[in-house]
Protein backbone atom coordinates (compact mmCIF):
# COMPACT_ATOMS: atom_id res chain seq x y z
CA UNK A 1 0.00 0.00 0.00
CA UNK A 2 2.34 2.64 -1.30
CA UNK A 3 -0.41 5.27 -1.54
CA UNK A 4 -1.62 4.69 2.00
CA UNK A 5 1.90 5.09 3.37
CA UNK A 6 2.36 8.38 1.57
CA UNK A 7 -1.03 9.57 2.72
CA UNK A 8 0.03 8.81 6.28
CA UNK A 9 2.89 11.27 5.91
CA UNK A 10 0.49 14.11 5.06
CA UNK A 11 -0.91 14.92 8.49
CA UNK A 12 -4.00 16.86 7.41
CA UNK A 13 -4.98 14.31 4.81
CA UNK A 14 -4.52 11.44 7.21
CA UNK A 15 -6.54 13.14 9.96
CA UNK A 16 -9.23 13.90 7.37
CA UNK A 17 -9.31 10.25 6.42
CA UNK A 18 -9.78 9.27 10.08
CA UNK A 19 -12.53 11.87 10.54
CA UNK A 20 -14.30 10.62 7.44
CA UNK A 21 -13.92 7.06 8.69
CA UNK A 22 -15.55 8.02 12.00
CA UNK A 23 -18.33 9.91 10.20
CA UNK A 24 -19.08 6.98 7.91
CA UNK A 25 -19.00 4.59 10.85
CA UNK A 26 -21.37 6.82 12.83
CA UNK A 27 -23.65 7.23 9.85
CA UNK A 28 -23.90 3.49 9.40
CA UNK A 29 -24.27 2.19 12.94
CA UNK A 30 -24.06 5.22 15.28
CA UNK A 31 -27.73 5.38 16.20
CA UNK A 32 -27.98 1.66 16.77
CA UNK A 33 -24.98 1.65 19.07
CA UNK A 34 -26.09 4.71 21.02
CA UNK A 35 -29.63 3.41 21.14
CA UNK A 36 -31.19 6.66 19.98
CA UNK A 37 -33.95 7.12 17.42
CA UNK A 38 -34.04 10.14 15.11
CA UNK A 39 -37.82 9.86 14.61
CA UNK A 40 -39.03 9.39 18.17
CA UNK A 41 -41.02 12.47 19.17
CA UNK A 42 -41.71 13.49 22.75
CA UNK A 43 -43.73 16.65 23.42
CA UNK A 44 -42.49 16.85 27.02
CA UNK A 45 -38.89 17.51 26.07
CA UNK A 46 -39.28 20.02 23.22
CA UNK A 47 -36.32 22.31 22.46
CA UNK A 48 -34.19 20.98 25.27
CA UNK A 49 -30.74 22.60 25.38
CA UNK A 50 -27.68 20.36 25.00
CA UNK A 51 -26.81 18.63 28.22
CA UNK A 52 -27.01 15.32 29.96
CA UNK A 53 -29.47 12.79 28.53
CA UNK A 54 -29.65 14.51 25.16
CA UNK A 55 -26.07 15.52 24.50
CA UNK A 56 -26.91 17.82 21.58
CA UNK A 57 -30.36 18.76 22.86
CA UNK A 58 -33.74 18.15 21.27
CA UNK A 59 -35.75 19.84 18.53
CA UNK A 60 -39.21 21.34 18.34
CA UNK A 61 -40.83 17.89 18.34
CA UNK A 62 -38.63 16.59 21.11
CA UNK A 63 -36.47 14.48 18.81
CA UNK A 64 -32.86 13.86 19.80
CA UNK A 65 -30.59 16.21 17.79
CA UNK A 66 -27.58 13.90 17.95
CA UNK A 67 -29.64 11.08 16.48
CA UNK A 68 -30.95 13.40 13.80
CA UNK A 69 -27.49 14.75 12.92
CA UNK A 70 -26.13 11.23 12.64
CA UNK A 71 -29.09 10.28 10.48
CA UNK A 72 -28.57 13.45 8.44
CA UNK A 73 -24.94 12.58 7.83
CA UNK A 74 -26.03 9.18 6.56
CA UNK A 75 -28.52 10.65 4.09
CA UNK A 76 -26.20 13.46 2.99
CA UNK A 77 -23.22 11.18 2.50
CA UNK A 78 -25.33 8.65 0.64
CA UNK A 79 -26.68 11.31 -1.72
CA UNK A 80 -23.29 12.86 -2.34
CA UNK A 81 -21.56 9.52 -2.89
CA UNK A 82 -24.22 8.09 -5.21
CA UNK A 83 -24.45 11.28 -7.25
CA UNK A 84 -20.67 11.55 -7.53
CA UNK A 85 -20.43 7.89 -8.52
CA UNK A 86 -22.97 8.62 -11.26
CA UNK A 87 -21.03 11.69 -12.39
CA UNK A 88 -17.77 9.75 -12.24
CA UNK A 89 -18.95 6.93 -14.46
CA UNK A 90 -20.92 8.99 -16.97
CA UNK A 91 -18.53 11.94 -17.02
CA UNK A 92 -15.37 9.87 -17.35
CA UNK A 93 -16.91 7.76 -20.11
CA UNK A 94 -18.04 10.79 -22.09
CA UNK A 95 -14.78 12.65 -21.54
CA UNK A 96 -12.57 9.70 -22.42
CA UNK A 97 -14.45 8.93 -25.62
CA UNK A 98 -14.50 12.59 -26.55
CA UNK A 99 -10.78 13.05 -25.99
CA UNK A 100 -9.65 9.74 -27.42
CA UNK A 101 -11.79 9.70 -30.54
CA UNK A 102 -11.50 13.41 -31.28
CA UNK A 103 -12.88 15.01 -34.44
CA UNK A 104 -16.60 15.52 -34.84
CA UNK A 105 -17.53 13.27 -31.90
CA UNK A 106 -15.37 15.44 -29.71
CA UNK A 107 -16.91 18.68 -30.99
CA UNK A 108 -20.47 17.49 -30.33
CA UNK A 109 -19.71 16.11 -26.87
CA UNK A 110 -17.79 19.23 -25.86
CA UNK A 111 -20.75 21.34 -26.95
CA UNK A 112 -23.11 19.34 -24.73
CA UNK A 113 -20.71 19.41 -21.79
CA UNK A 114 -20.22 23.15 -22.11
CA UNK A 115 -23.96 23.69 -22.32
CA UNK A 116 -24.50 21.81 -19.06
CA UNK A 117 -21.58 23.67 -17.55
CA UNK A 118 -23.09 27.04 -18.38
CA UNK A 119 -25.67 26.55 -15.61
CA UNK A 120 -24.52 27.17 -12.05
CA UNK A 121 -24.65 23.88 -10.16
CA UNK A 122 -27.34 24.96 -7.71
CA UNK A 123 -29.48 26.45 -10.45
CA UNK A 124 -29.20 23.29 -12.51
CA UNK A 125 -30.00 21.19 -9.46
CA UNK A 126 -32.99 23.40 -8.74
CA UNK A 127 -34.16 23.14 -12.34
CA UNK A 128 -33.79 19.36 -12.48
CA UNK A 129 -35.35 18.90 -9.06
CA UNK A 130 -38.31 20.99 -10.19
CA UNK A 131 -38.71 19.08 -13.43
CA UNK A 132 -38.13 15.62 -11.96
CA UNK A 133 -39.83 16.39 -8.64
CA UNK A 134 -38.13 16.34 -5.27
CA UNK A 135 -37.17 13.19 -3.44
CA UNK A 136 -33.94 11.37 -2.86
CA UNK A 137 -33.50 9.60 -6.22
CA UNK A 138 -34.18 12.74 -8.18
CA UNK A 139 -31.90 14.86 -6.07
CA UNK A 140 -29.14 12.31 -6.60
CA UNK A 141 -29.74 12.43 -10.35
CA UNK A 142 -29.84 16.23 -10.33
CA UNK A 143 -26.55 16.58 -8.44
CA UNK A 144 -25.05 13.77 -10.46
CA UNK A 145 -25.86 15.41 -13.79
CA UNK A 146 -24.58 18.77 -12.65
CA UNK A 147 -21.26 17.13 -11.70
CA UNK A 148 -20.86 15.25 -14.99
CA UNK A 149 -19.13 18.15 -16.81
CA UNK A 150 -16.30 18.35 -14.26
CA UNK A 151 -15.38 14.72 -14.78
CA UNK A 152 -15.96 14.90 -18.51
CA UNK A 153 -13.67 17.92 -18.94
CA UNK A 154 -10.98 16.38 -16.82
CA UNK A 155 -11.17 12.98 -18.50
CA UNK A 156 -11.17 14.61 -21.92
CA UNK A 157 -8.06 16.66 -21.29
CA UNK A 158 -6.32 13.66 -19.75
CA UNK A 159 -7.34 11.40 -22.66
CA UNK A 160 -5.99 13.92 -25.17
CA UNK A 161 -2.69 14.18 -23.35
CA UNK A 162 -2.34 10.42 -22.82
CA UNK A 163 -3.34 9.61 -26.40
CA UNK A 164 -0.29 11.53 -27.60
CA UNK A 165 2.15 9.70 -25.37
CA UNK A 166 4.54 7.23 -26.89
CA UNK A 167 3.45 4.22 -24.92
CA UNK A 168 0.07 4.44 -26.62
CA UNK A 169 1.74 4.24 -30.01
CA UNK A 170 3.85 1.31 -28.88
CA UNK A 171 0.68 -0.33 -27.55
CA UNK A 172 -0.85 0.03 -31.02
CA UNK A 173 2.22 -1.60 -32.54
CA UNK A 174 1.77 -4.65 -30.33
CA UNK A 175 -1.67 -5.09 -31.89
CA UNK A 176 -4.07 -3.91 -29.17
CA UNK A 177 -7.44 -2.58 -30.30
CA UNK A 178 -8.88 0.75 -29.20
CA UNK A 179 -11.04 -0.71 -26.45
CA UNK A 180 -8.06 -2.48 -24.90
CA UNK A 181 -5.96 0.65 -25.17
CA UNK A 182 -8.63 2.72 -23.43
CA UNK A 183 -9.20 0.25 -20.60
CA UNK A 184 -5.60 -0.77 -20.01
CA UNK A 185 -3.68 2.36 -20.89
CA UNK A 186 -5.82 5.50 -20.99
CA UNK A 187 -8.11 4.98 -17.99
CA UNK A 188 -5.49 3.68 -15.54
CA UNK A 189 -3.19 6.55 -16.42
CA UNK A 190 -5.84 9.15 -15.65
CA UNK A 191 -7.12 7.39 -12.52
CA UNK A 192 -5.14 9.44 -10.02
CA UNK A 193 -6.57 12.73 -11.29
CA UNK A 194 -10.06 11.27 -11.36
CA UNK A 195 -9.77 9.96 -7.79
CA UNK A 196 -8.78 13.42 -6.57
CA UNK A 197 -11.68 14.96 -8.47
CA UNK A 198 -14.04 12.40 -6.92
CA UNK A 199 -13.12 13.45 -3.43
CA UNK A 200 -13.43 17.15 -4.25
CA UNK A 201 -16.71 16.59 -6.08
CA UNK A 202 -18.11 14.63 -3.15
CA UNK A 203 -17.49 17.71 -0.99
CA UNK A 204 -19.17 20.06 -3.44
CA UNK A 205 -22.05 17.60 -3.96
CA UNK A 206 -22.66 17.62 -0.21
CA UNK A 207 -22.86 21.39 -0.25
CA UNK A 208 -25.18 21.38 -3.27
CA UNK A 209 -27.40 18.81 -1.60
CA UNK A 210 -27.54 20.85 1.60
CA UNK A 211 -28.33 23.99 -0.38
CA UNK A 212 -31.14 22.32 -2.35
CA UNK A 213 -32.56 20.73 0.78
CA UNK A 214 -32.33 24.06 2.57
CA UNK A 215 -34.36 25.58 -0.23
CA UNK A 216 -36.93 22.86 0.16
CA UNK A 217 -36.47 21.00 -3.14
CA UNK A 218 -34.29 18.28 -1.73
CA UNK A 219 -35.00 15.39 0.58
CA UNK A 220 -38.58 15.35 1.87
CA UNK A 221 -39.64 14.57 5.47
CA UNK A 222 -39.58 12.31 7.33
CA UNK A 223 -36.19 11.63 5.71
CA UNK A 224 -33.78 14.37 6.70
CA UNK A 225 -30.40 15.32 5.31
CA UNK A 226 -28.09 17.81 6.96
CA UNK A 227 -29.57 20.51 4.74
CA UNK A 228 -33.08 19.69 5.92
CA UNK A 229 -31.93 19.84 9.54
CA UNK A 230 -30.37 23.21 8.88
CA UNK A 231 -33.60 24.43 7.33
CA UNK A 232 -35.72 23.09 10.23
CA UNK A 233 -33.41 24.67 12.79
CA UNK A 234 -33.49 28.00 10.94
CA UNK A 235 -36.98 28.74 12.26
CA UNK A 236 -35.74 28.48 15.84
CA UNK A 237 -32.36 30.09 15.37
CA UNK A 238 -32.85 32.70 18.11
CA UNK A 239 -34.53 30.31 20.59
CA UNK A 240 -32.63 27.07 19.98
CA UNK A 241 -29.47 27.76 18.00
CA UNK A 242 -28.17 24.20 18.56
CA UNK A 243 -30.72 22.95 16.05
CA UNK A 244 -28.79 24.56 13.21
CA UNK A 245 -25.32 24.78 14.72
CA UNK A 246 -24.69 21.04 14.96
CA UNK A 247 -25.86 20.11 11.45
CA UNK A 248 -23.78 23.06 10.24
CA UNK A 249 -20.72 21.74 12.03
CA UNK A 250 -21.35 18.30 10.55
CA UNK A 251 -21.46 19.76 7.02
CA UNK A 252 -18.33 21.82 7.66
CA UNK A 253 -16.41 18.87 9.07
CA UNK A 254 -17.36 16.52 6.23
CA UNK A 255 -16.62 19.04 3.48
CA UNK A 256 -13.29 20.12 4.96
CA UNK A 257 -12.25 16.50 5.50
CA UNK A 258 -13.17 15.59 1.91
CA UNK A 259 -11.26 18.56 0.53
CA UNK A 260 -8.12 17.89 2.57
CA UNK A 261 -8.30 14.24 1.61
CA UNK A 262 -8.51 15.28 -2.04
CA UNK A 263 -5.41 17.46 -1.68
CA UNK A 264 -3.57 14.69 0.13
CA UNK A 265 -4.52 12.16 -2.53
CA UNK A 266 -3.25 14.50 -5.23
CA UNK A 267 0.21 14.36 -3.69
CA UNK A 268 0.05 10.68 -2.76
CA UNK A 269 -0.99 9.58 -6.25
CA UNK A 270 1.51 11.74 -8.12
CA UNK A 271 3.81 9.37 -9.99
CA UNK A 272 6.63 11.91 -10.10
CA UNK A 273 6.71 12.33 -6.33
CA UNK A 274 6.75 8.57 -6.04
CA UNK A 275 9.86 8.43 -8.24
CA UNK A 276 11.65 11.11 -6.20
CA UNK A 277 11.08 9.39 -2.88
Amino acid sequence: MDIFKKLKKRKTAFISLIILGILVFLALVGNTILGIDPFETNSKIRLLAPGMGHILGTDNLGRDVLARVIYGIRISLAISLVSVAFALIVGTAIGTISGYVGGKVDSVLVLIIEAVCAFPTVLLGLLLATVLGSGMTNIMLAIGISNVPYFARLARSMAISIRGREYIESAVTTGLNHFEIITRYVLPNMSSVIIVQTSLSAASALITESTLSFMGVGVQPPAASLGVLLRDGYDYISKASWLSIFPGIAILLTVIALNFLGDGLRDALDVKIRVDN
Binding site: T173, T174, G175, R184, N189, V275
Partner: protein
Amino acid sequence: MSEQLVEVKDLKVTYYQNGVETPVVRNVSFEIKKNETLGLVGESGSGKSVTSKAIMRLIAEPPGKIANGEILFEGKNLLKMKEKQMQKVRGKDIAMIFQEPMTSLNPLYTCGSQIAEAILLHNKCSKQEAWERAVEILKMVGVPSPEKRAQSYPHELSGGMRQRVMIAIALSCNPRLLIADEPTTALDPTIQAQILKLIHDMQKEKDMSVLLITHDMGIVAENCDRVAVMYAGQILEIADVKTIFGNPAHPYTIGLLKAIPKLDEKVDRLYNIRGMVPRFNELPNGCTFGPRCDFCDKKCEEEAPQLVNMGDGHLVRCHYAGYLPERGI
Protein backbone atom coordinates in the same frame (compact mmCIF):
# COMPACT_ATOMS: atom_id res chain seq x y z
CA MET B 1 7.27 -16.89 -53.20
CA SER B 2 10.06 -14.50 -53.85
CA GLU B 3 12.68 -13.72 -51.26
CA GLN B 4 10.99 -10.38 -50.73
CA LEU B 5 9.34 -9.96 -47.33
CA VAL B 6 8.08 -6.44 -47.79
CA GLU B 7 7.55 -4.51 -50.98
CA VAL B 8 6.66 -0.86 -50.81
CA LYS B 9 5.42 0.41 -54.15
CA ASP B 10 5.00 4.06 -55.06
CA LEU B 11 4.01 5.09 -51.54
CA LYS B 12 2.60 8.55 -51.08
CA VAL B 13 1.66 9.94 -47.68
CA THR B 14 0.11 13.36 -47.28
CA TYR B 15 -0.62 15.54 -44.29
CA TYR B 16 -3.08 18.37 -44.08
CA GLN B 17 -1.25 21.54 -43.20
CA ASN B 18 -3.46 24.61 -42.73
CA GLY B 19 -6.08 23.01 -44.94
CA VAL B 20 -3.63 22.19 -47.72
CA GLU B 21 -2.84 18.56 -48.50
CA THR B 22 0.94 18.41 -48.42
CA PRO B 23 2.80 15.30 -49.54
CA VAL B 24 5.51 14.35 -47.05
CA VAL B 25 6.44 11.04 -48.65
CA ARG B 26 6.34 10.63 -52.44
CA ASN B 27 7.11 7.89 -54.96
CA VAL B 28 8.78 5.78 -52.32
CA SER B 29 9.44 2.25 -53.48
CA PHE B 30 11.74 -0.27 -51.91
CA GLU B 31 11.75 -3.84 -50.78
CA ILE B 32 13.04 -5.62 -47.74
CA LYS B 33 14.39 -9.09 -48.38
CA LYS B 34 14.08 -11.92 -45.93
CA ASN B 35 16.68 -11.82 -43.15
CA GLU B 36 18.24 -8.60 -44.34
CA THR B 37 18.69 -5.30 -42.58
CA LEU B 38 17.63 -2.31 -44.61
CA GLY B 39 18.86 1.03 -43.34
CA LEU B 40 16.71 4.07 -43.93
CA VAL B 41 18.79 7.21 -43.51
CA GLY B 42 18.07 10.87 -43.88
CA GLU B 43 17.86 14.16 -42.04
CA SER B 44 15.14 14.99 -39.57
CA GLY B 45 11.89 15.51 -41.40
CA SER B 46 12.93 13.58 -44.49
CA GLY B 47 10.04 11.13 -44.12
CA LYS B 48 11.82 8.14 -42.60
CA SER B 49 9.49 7.74 -39.65
CA VAL B 50 6.40 8.46 -41.72
CA THR B 51 7.41 5.70 -44.13
CA SER B 52 7.87 3.23 -41.30
CA LYS B 53 4.58 4.23 -39.68
CA ALA B 54 2.85 3.76 -43.01
CA ILE B 55 4.04 0.15 -43.06
CA MET B 56 2.46 -0.30 -39.63
CA ARG B 57 -0.58 1.72 -40.73
CA LEU B 58 0.01 4.10 -37.85
CA ILE B 59 -0.58 7.29 -39.81
CA ALA B 60 -3.31 9.15 -37.92
CA GLU B 61 -6.18 10.08 -40.22
CA PRO B 62 -6.77 13.01 -40.17
CA PRO B 63 -4.42 14.88 -40.48
CA GLY B 64 -2.41 12.25 -42.33
CA LYS B 65 -3.41 10.07 -45.25
CA ILE B 66 -1.82 7.30 -47.25
CA ALA B 67 -2.77 8.75 -50.59
CA ASN B 68 -1.30 6.21 -52.94
CA GLY B 69 0.73 3.06 -53.22
CA GLU B 70 0.92 -0.52 -52.10
CA ILE B 71 2.66 -2.12 -49.17
CA LEU B 72 2.94 -5.83 -49.74
CA PHE B 73 3.86 -7.97 -46.77
CA GLU B 74 4.44 -11.56 -47.86
CA GLY B 75 2.35 -10.74 -50.88
CA LYS B 76 -0.63 -9.29 -49.00
CA ASN B 77 -1.41 -5.60 -49.37
CA LEU B 78 -1.42 -4.10 -45.88
CA LEU B 79 -3.13 -0.96 -47.08
CA LYS B 80 -6.21 -2.92 -48.19
CA MET B 81 -6.57 -4.70 -44.86
CA LYS B 82 -9.34 -3.97 -42.41
CA GLU B 83 -8.29 -2.50 -39.07
CA LYS B 84 -9.16 -5.80 -37.34
CA GLN B 85 -6.84 -7.78 -39.61
CA MET B 86 -4.17 -5.15 -39.22
CA GLN B 87 -4.28 -5.54 -35.43
CA LYS B 88 -3.34 -9.17 -35.93
CA VAL B 89 -0.40 -8.20 -38.10
CA ARG B 90 0.87 -5.61 -35.64
CA GLY B 91 2.97 -7.17 -32.95
CA LYS B 92 2.75 -10.63 -34.49
CA ASP B 93 4.17 -10.21 -37.99
CA ILE B 94 5.58 -6.71 -37.75
CA ALA B 95 6.88 -5.26 -34.52
CA MET B 96 8.31 -1.86 -33.83
CA ILE B 97 10.64 -0.25 -31.34
CA PHE B 98 10.87 3.46 -30.81
CA GLN B 99 13.38 6.15 -30.20
CA GLU B 100 12.30 7.05 -26.67
CA PRO B 101 12.54 4.08 -24.32
CA MET B 102 11.91 6.45 -21.41
CA THR B 103 8.33 7.11 -22.45
CA SER B 104 7.40 4.12 -24.59
CA LEU B 105 6.36 1.89 -21.70
CA ASN B 106 3.17 2.20 -19.70
CA PRO B 107 4.31 3.62 -16.34
CA LEU B 108 1.57 1.82 -14.41
CA TYR B 109 2.38 -1.80 -15.19
CA THR B 110 5.43 -3.92 -14.48
CA CYS B 111 7.74 -4.70 -17.38
CA GLY B 112 6.93 -8.38 -17.14
CA SER B 113 3.20 -7.84 -17.40
CA GLN B 114 3.65 -5.62 -20.44
CA ILE B 115 5.59 -8.32 -22.23
CA ALA B 116 3.10 -10.96 -21.07
CA GLU B 117 0.26 -8.80 -22.38
CA ALA B 118 1.76 -8.84 -25.87
CA ILE B 119 2.24 -12.60 -25.68
CA LEU B 120 -1.33 -13.21 -24.50
CA LEU B 121 -2.66 -11.04 -27.28
CA HIS B 122 -1.29 -13.16 -30.10
CA ASN B 123 -0.94 -16.60 -28.52
CA LYS B 124 -3.25 -18.98 -26.82
CA CYS B 125 -1.69 -19.62 -23.44
CA SER B 126 -2.33 -19.13 -19.77
CA LYS B 127 -1.24 -16.04 -17.86
CA GLN B 128 1.30 -18.14 -16.01
CA GLU B 129 2.85 -19.40 -19.25
CA ALA B 130 2.90 -15.90 -20.70
CA TRP B 131 4.70 -14.61 -17.62
CA GLU B 132 7.25 -17.41 -17.80
CA ARG B 133 7.90 -16.65 -21.44
CA ALA B 134 8.21 -12.96 -20.62
CA VAL B 135 10.95 -13.76 -18.11
CA GLU B 136 12.62 -16.02 -20.68
CA ILE B 137 12.62 -13.26 -23.27
CA LEU B 138 13.99 -10.74 -20.77
CA LYS B 139 16.83 -13.16 -20.14
CA MET B 140 17.37 -13.54 -23.87
CA VAL B 141 17.68 -9.79 -24.43
CA GLY B 142 20.33 -9.63 -21.73
CA VAL B 143 18.45 -8.23 -18.76
CA PRO B 144 20.24 -9.34 -15.59
CA SER B 145 18.15 -11.20 -12.97
CA PRO B 146 15.12 -11.32 -15.26
CA GLU B 147 12.73 -12.73 -12.63
CA LYS B 148 13.29 -9.65 -10.50
CA ARG B 149 13.30 -7.17 -13.36
CA ALA B 150 10.00 -8.54 -14.65
CA GLN B 151 8.47 -7.30 -11.41
CA SER B 152 9.99 -3.83 -11.85
CA TYR B 153 8.13 -0.79 -13.04
CA PRO B 154 9.58 1.11 -16.00
CA HIS B 155 10.71 4.07 -13.89
CA GLU B 156 12.91 1.75 -11.86
CA LEU B 157 15.01 0.85 -14.91
CA SER B 158 17.67 2.75 -16.84
CA GLY B 159 17.21 3.84 -20.44
CA GLY B 160 19.22 0.95 -21.83
CA MET B 161 17.26 -1.56 -19.76
CA ARG B 162 13.98 -0.06 -20.87
CA GLN B 163 15.03 -0.29 -24.50
CA ARG B 164 15.81 -3.95 -23.86
CA VAL B 165 12.33 -4.37 -22.44
CA MET B 166 10.92 -2.66 -25.54
CA ILE B 167 12.88 -5.09 -27.70
CA ALA B 168 11.60 -7.95 -25.55
CA ILE B 169 8.01 -6.83 -26.17
CA ALA B 170 8.71 -6.48 -29.88
CA LEU B 171 10.29 -9.92 -30.12
CA SER B 172 7.79 -11.65 -27.86
CA CYS B 173 5.73 -12.99 -30.75
CA ASN B 174 8.59 -13.76 -33.15
CA PRO B 175 7.83 -11.09 -35.76
CA ARG B 176 8.98 -11.46 -39.38
CA LEU B 177 9.88 -7.79 -39.57
CA LEU B 178 11.25 -5.53 -36.87
CA ILE B 179 11.03 -1.81 -37.48
CA ALA B 180 13.54 0.02 -35.32
CA ASP B 181 12.90 3.75 -35.45
CA GLU B 182 16.13 5.33 -34.25
CA PRO B 183 16.38 2.75 -31.45
CA THR B 184 19.58 4.13 -29.99
CA THR B 185 19.31 7.89 -30.43
CA ALA B 186 18.37 8.44 -26.79
CA LEU B 187 21.09 6.16 -25.43
CA ASP B 188 24.78 6.74 -24.77
CA PRO B 189 27.34 5.21 -27.17
CA THR B 190 28.30 2.11 -25.13
CA ILE B 191 24.67 1.16 -24.58
CA GLN B 192 24.01 2.04 -28.21
CA ALA B 193 26.53 -0.53 -29.35
CA GLN B 194 25.07 -3.16 -27.01
CA ILE B 195 21.52 -2.57 -28.19
CA LEU B 196 22.50 -2.70 -31.87
CA LYS B 197 24.42 -5.90 -31.30
CA LEU B 198 21.39 -7.30 -29.51
CA ILE B 199 19.12 -6.46 -32.45
CA HIS B 200 21.65 -8.03 -34.79
CA ASP B 201 21.93 -11.22 -32.71
CA MET B 202 18.17 -11.51 -32.37
CA GLN B 203 17.78 -11.07 -36.10
CA LYS B 204 20.09 -14.03 -36.74
CA GLU B 205 18.42 -16.17 -34.10
CA LYS B 206 14.87 -15.42 -35.12
CA ASP B 207 15.29 -15.19 -38.91
CA MET B 208 13.68 -11.82 -39.20
CA SER B 209 14.19 -8.75 -41.32
CA VAL B 210 15.00 -5.40 -39.82
CA LEU B 211 14.16 -1.93 -41.05
CA LEU B 212 16.64 0.25 -39.23
CA ILE B 213 15.85 3.93 -39.29
CA THR B 214 18.68 6.21 -38.31
CA HIS B 215 20.57 9.34 -39.23
CA ASP B 216 23.89 7.94 -38.11
CA MET B 217 26.01 6.76 -41.04
CA GLY B 218 28.26 4.86 -38.64
CA ILE B 219 25.36 2.71 -37.48
CA VAL B 220 24.39 2.10 -41.10
CA ALA B 221 27.88 0.96 -42.05
CA GLU B 222 28.07 -1.52 -39.20
CA ASN B 223 24.57 -2.93 -39.21
CA CYS B 224 22.89 -2.75 -42.60
CA ASP B 225 22.96 -4.92 -45.67
CA ARG B 226 21.34 -2.35 -47.91
CA VAL B 227 20.69 1.35 -47.49
CA ALA B 228 18.01 3.73 -48.71
CA VAL B 229 18.82 7.43 -48.47
CA MET B 230 15.79 9.63 -48.05
CA TYR B 231 15.53 13.34 -48.59
CA ALA B 232 12.43 15.55 -48.50
CA GLY B 233 10.11 12.57 -48.71
CA GLN B 234 11.81 10.80 -51.58
CA ILE B 235 14.39 8.08 -51.86
CA LEU B 236 17.43 9.61 -53.53
CA GLU B 237 19.60 6.56 -53.60
CA ILE B 238 19.27 2.93 -52.69
CA ALA B 239 22.00 0.32 -52.88
CA ASP B 240 23.84 -2.26 -50.87
CA VAL B 241 25.95 -0.92 -48.09
CA LYS B 242 29.29 -1.42 -49.88
CA THR B 243 28.13 0.57 -52.88
CA ILE B 244 26.72 3.38 -50.77
CA PHE B 245 29.99 3.83 -48.91
CA GLY B 246 32.39 2.87 -51.68
CA ASN B 247 30.73 4.18 -54.79
CA PRO B 248 27.94 6.62 -53.96
CA ALA B 249 26.30 8.18 -56.99
CA HIS B 250 24.03 10.86 -55.62
CA PRO B 251 25.51 14.23 -54.63
CA TYR B 252 23.49 14.12 -51.37
CA THR B 253 24.91 10.74 -50.35
CA ILE B 254 28.37 11.95 -51.26
CA GLY B 255 27.79 15.03 -49.11
CA LEU B 256 26.58 12.97 -46.18
CA LEU B 257 29.66 10.77 -46.33
CA LYS B 258 31.98 13.74 -46.62
CA ALA B 259 30.37 15.21 -43.52
CA ILE B 260 31.52 12.30 -41.34
CA PRO B 261 34.62 13.39 -39.42
CA LYS B 262 37.57 11.08 -39.95
CA LEU B 263 40.00 10.08 -37.25
CA ASP B 264 43.07 10.10 -39.47
CA GLU B 265 42.56 13.48 -41.09
CA LYS B 266 43.18 16.84 -39.54
CA VAL B 267 40.67 19.44 -40.69
CA ASP B 268 39.87 22.94 -39.53
CA ARG B 269 36.19 22.81 -40.35
CA LEU B 270 34.00 19.81 -40.89
CA TYR B 271 32.31 19.57 -44.25
CA ASN B 272 28.66 20.50 -44.35
CA ILE B 273 25.98 20.50 -46.98
CA ARG B 274 24.96 24.10 -47.49
CA GLY B 275 21.40 25.26 -47.00
CA MET B 276 18.50 23.67 -45.19
CA VAL B 277 15.99 20.94 -45.87
CA PRO B 278 13.17 22.63 -47.79
CA ARG B 279 9.73 22.81 -46.23
CA PHE B 280 7.26 20.40 -47.72
CA ASN B 281 4.96 23.18 -48.84
CA GLU B 282 7.71 25.00 -50.73
CA LEU B 283 9.49 22.18 -52.52
CA PRO B 284 11.36 23.22 -55.68
CA ASN B 285 9.89 22.23 -59.04
CA GLY B 286 12.86 20.29 -60.29
CA CYS B 287 15.21 18.17 -58.21
CA THR B 288 14.31 18.56 -54.53
CA PHE B 289 17.97 18.57 -53.61
CA GLY B 290 18.82 21.04 -56.39
CA PRO B 291 19.06 24.22 -54.30
CA ARG B 292 21.68 22.61 -52.09
CA CYS B 293 23.55 20.71 -54.77
CA ASP B 294 26.96 21.83 -56.05
CA PHE B 295 26.25 20.42 -59.50
CA CYS B 296 22.78 21.82 -60.00
CA ASP B 297 22.12 23.23 -63.47
CA LYS B 298 19.17 24.34 -65.57
CA LYS B 299 17.95 20.81 -66.20
CA CYS B 300 17.94 20.06 -62.48
CA GLU B 301 15.95 23.19 -61.74
CA GLU B 302 13.30 22.44 -64.34
CA GLU B 303 12.90 18.71 -64.49
CA ALA B 304 12.49 16.38 -61.52
CA PRO B 305 14.85 13.42 -61.93
CA GLN B 306 13.61 9.83 -61.93
CA LEU B 307 15.32 6.89 -60.29
CA VAL B 308 18.07 5.62 -62.58
CA ASN B 309 19.15 2.00 -62.37
CA MET B 310 22.92 1.73 -62.18
CA GLY B 311 22.79 -2.07 -62.04
CA ASP B 312 22.77 -4.52 -59.12
CA GLY B 313 19.81 -2.82 -57.51
CA HIS B 314 21.66 0.46 -57.25
CA LEU B 315 19.05 3.16 -57.92
CA VAL B 316 19.84 6.86 -58.00
CA ARG B 317 17.51 9.83 -58.37
CA CYS B 318 19.83 12.19 -60.25
CA HIS B 319 20.11 13.38 -63.84
CA TYR B 320 23.85 13.00 -63.69
CA ALA B 321 24.12 9.69 -61.89
CA GLY B 322 27.35 8.07 -62.97
CA TYR B 323 28.57 11.21 -64.75
CA LEU B 324 29.47 13.14 -61.66
CA PRO B 325 33.20 12.30 -61.76
CA GLU B 326 33.42 14.06 -65.13
CA ARG B 327 31.80 17.10 -63.54
CA GLY B 328 34.60 17.43 -61.05
CA ILE B 329 33.65 15.56 -57.94
